[in-house]
């Protein structure tokens, strides 16, 4: 059973950490770029979206060059005794790079829909930029943010090409479910491949259900859907209210 559980556990950890990282970084980048109006905007925007349009193997290869023993980042790290390539963090890095554009793009679209007057109103009411973000911008952009998170989750769950390039296939260490399925089939181990496939299917359906539930507006975000008006409020004819409707 261990050959099924190990990839499952590794994938689980990777997806969780990746989604958390892309959630924060994607929102931060989207927030920044939607307020930034410099000349470099299209360039930065393009750089953020680049992993989405490149083949995953190309991204993986690029990361390998960057993080490898002689790369710009890999070399300084190797001097302090850290190697990223072919380690578990490599699965997170490759999945995060691949999933980031999805979070960034959806969050950016959602932020740009938020009426800047409403954010300005919060500022004149004494709110700091931080409070404006979490009490006004995020709640108003919530459906977009949740959609981005779902996409990130799905993308990092299925990440294969870049992960294989950067993290390789070290059983019990970097072998995620997609990588395990691929090598099970290559080895002719159809039984293992089918078991893993069923597990992935269950996780995917369960997580979609969970996220669909999350996307449903909480009381805090209820304004995003039409709200049933309590009957006793529809026909108020209070003294104060009746003369001004």
């Amino acid at each position: 059973m261990n050959e099924y559980l190990a990839p499952l556990w590794i994938s689980f950890k990777t997806v969780l950490v990746t989604t958390a990282i892309t959630f924060v970084l994607g929102i931060a980048a989207a927030r920044w770029i939607s307020r930034y109006s410099g000349k470099l905007k299209p360039v930065i925007d393009g750089a953020f979206i680049l992993p989405l349009v490149l083949p995953p193997t190309v991204v993986g290869f690029g990361l390998l060059l960057l993080l490898g023993k002689h790369g710009w980042i890999g070399h300084p790290l190797s001097l302090i005794g850290t190697t990223i390539v072919f380690s578990w963090p490599a699965t997170v890095i490759s999945a995060a790079v691949m999933a980031f554009p999805l979070m960034y793009m959806t969050a950016r679209g959602a932020f740009e829909q938020v009426d800047t007057n409403i954010e300005d109103a919060a500022r004149t009411l004494g709110a700091s930029e931080w409070r404006v973000l979490y009490s006004v911008t995020l709640p108003m952009a919530w459906p977009g943010v949740v959609a981005g998170t779902i996409l990130c989750f799905a993308r990092s769950m299925g990440e294969f090409g870049a992960t294989l390039m950067l993290a390789g296939n070290i059983p019990g260490k970097t072998t995620t479910i997609p990588v395990a399925i691929y090598f099970a089939i290559v080895d002719g181990n159809m039984k293992e491949a089918v078991y893993l496939m069923i597990i992935v299917l269950c996780i995917a359906l369960a997580s979609l259900a969970a996220l669909a539930y999350l996307k449903k507006p909480k009381p805090r975000f209820r304004a995003l859907t039409v709200n049933p008006v309590p009957n006793n409020m529809l026909y108020t004819s209070g003294k104060k209210d009746s003369h001004i409707n």
Binding site: D115, N117, I118, D120, A121, A122, R123, T124, L125, G126, A127, S128, S135, V136, P139, M140, R220, F221, R222, A223, L224, N227, V229, P230, M233, T236, G238, K240, D241, H243, I244, N245
Partner: protein, 359 residues
């Protein structure tokens, strides 16, 4: 006391204004695109002027020479946006409570409750903005802006999205505001009647400049120039030259019409013979009389438009030099049956009701 002296230059627009407000309602009146909203945004700190300074009571909010520019959150300025900009994900009460910080829960509730009562929002506390009518949304927006107890309240076209009945009722509410809100108020509007009813002084804007800033009565009775006169609903203008000054009257020759008009000086000083001036007359003050005389023209009725309580008549004046000069007069409805197109009238311009525009 709020003192404002700001300059902001954009590629195709320049805002350059200076004014002050002291425990009163200042109306900023002007056409769209004249810089009214930009002025409010500068005071609130949402827009940064290129040069100038803004001082609110004893605090400097903005000063280019001292390099001071307080962020909006530290300015203590209440701004009611034109579209109200309520938080759609918060209830009316939560909207109002948003700006009340550093107080205990019960203190916040108490203040929200007080504002609810004052703004007539009882029973609407738990509704979300989109469940409120435009008038109710506006009251929530005003209550929300007042909640942090700002030193000045800025109202940006507060009635532009409302039907006329709601508008009148909310105007009353703004007037009542003065009973419990003692700070300064600036009201931006493009509606003369609204500005006149609600404010004590009016600053008239045109293309980023203040062309007159005075007590509201003064704006109406002695406009500084033709632009102000047009904005304050003067309909008839005649260019002329002063021919004589006697006692409290002046005589003005109107070459276009080939007549001399007697005009009351109305406290105008520095008038001189041969000075070119413009005479303005409101359509309501023109009278139809039986016989020719001083200040009387013969006019032919071209067309008329019926209003609720009066009739606007467009006359072409019978003069020696120019037949096509058009005069607009408004008569009470009682004379309506007497009017027919092509009819001749003698029109009298009362000397006391004409204004002298020297600029």
């Amino acid at each position: 006391m709020l003192k404002v002296e700001i300059n902001r230059t954009l590629p195709d627009f320049k805002l350059d204004v200076a004014f002050s407000v002291d425990s009163e309602v200042l109306g900023i009146l002007g056409p769209s695109g004249s810089g009214k909203t930009m002025t409010l945004n500068c005071i609130a700190g949402l827009v940064c002027p290129n040069r100038g300074f803004i001082q609110l009571n004893d605090r400097v909010l903005f000063d280019t020479s001292q390099k001071v520019n307080l962020p909006p959150r530290d300015r203590n300025v209440g701004l009611v946006f034109q579209n109200y900009a309520l938080f759609p994900h918060l209830t009316a009460s939560e909207n109002i409570a948003y700006g009340i910080r550093h107080h205990s829960r019960s203190e916040v509730n108490h203040r929200v409750q007080t504002l609810n009562e004052k703004m007539g929002l009882d029973g609407l506390q738990n509704r979300y903005p989109q469940q409120l009518s435009a008038g109710q949304q506006q009251r929530v927006a005003v209550a929300r802006a007042l909640a942090p107890e700002p030193e000045i309240l800025l109202l940006d076209e507060p009635f532009s999205a409302l039907d006329s009945l709601t508008k009148e009722q909310l105007e009353m509410q703004i007037l009542e505001l003065r009973h419990f809100y003692k700070g300064h108020i600036i009201l931006v509007t493009h509606d003369l009647v609204e500005a006149y009813r609600l404010s004590s002084r009016i600053a008239v804007y045109d293309a980023g400049k203040i062309i007159q800033c005075d007590r509201k009565g003064k704006i109406i009775s002695s406009p500084a120039n033709q632009k102000v006169a047009r904005m304050t609903k003067f309909r008839n203008f005649m260019d002329g030259i002063i021919t004589d000054i006697k006692d409290k009257n002046i005589w003005v020759s109107i070459p276009e019409l080939g007549v001399d008009l007697k005009v009351a000086a109305n406290g105008h000083k520095n008038l001189a013979v041969n000075q070119p001036i413009t005479i303005g007359v409101r359509s309501e003050y023109i009278q139809a009389v039986a016989a020719p005389g001083q200040n009387t023209f013969q006019g032919t009725l071209n067309s008329s438009v019926e209003n609720l309580t009066s009739i606007n008549c467009y006359f072409s004046l019978k003069t020696e030099t120019n037949e096509s000069y058009c005069l607009e007069a408004a008569f009470p409805k009682s004379v309506a049956p007497l009017l027919s197109d092509g009819q001749h009238f003698y029109l009298y311009l009362p000397p006391e009701q004409m204004v002298i525009i020297t600029d």
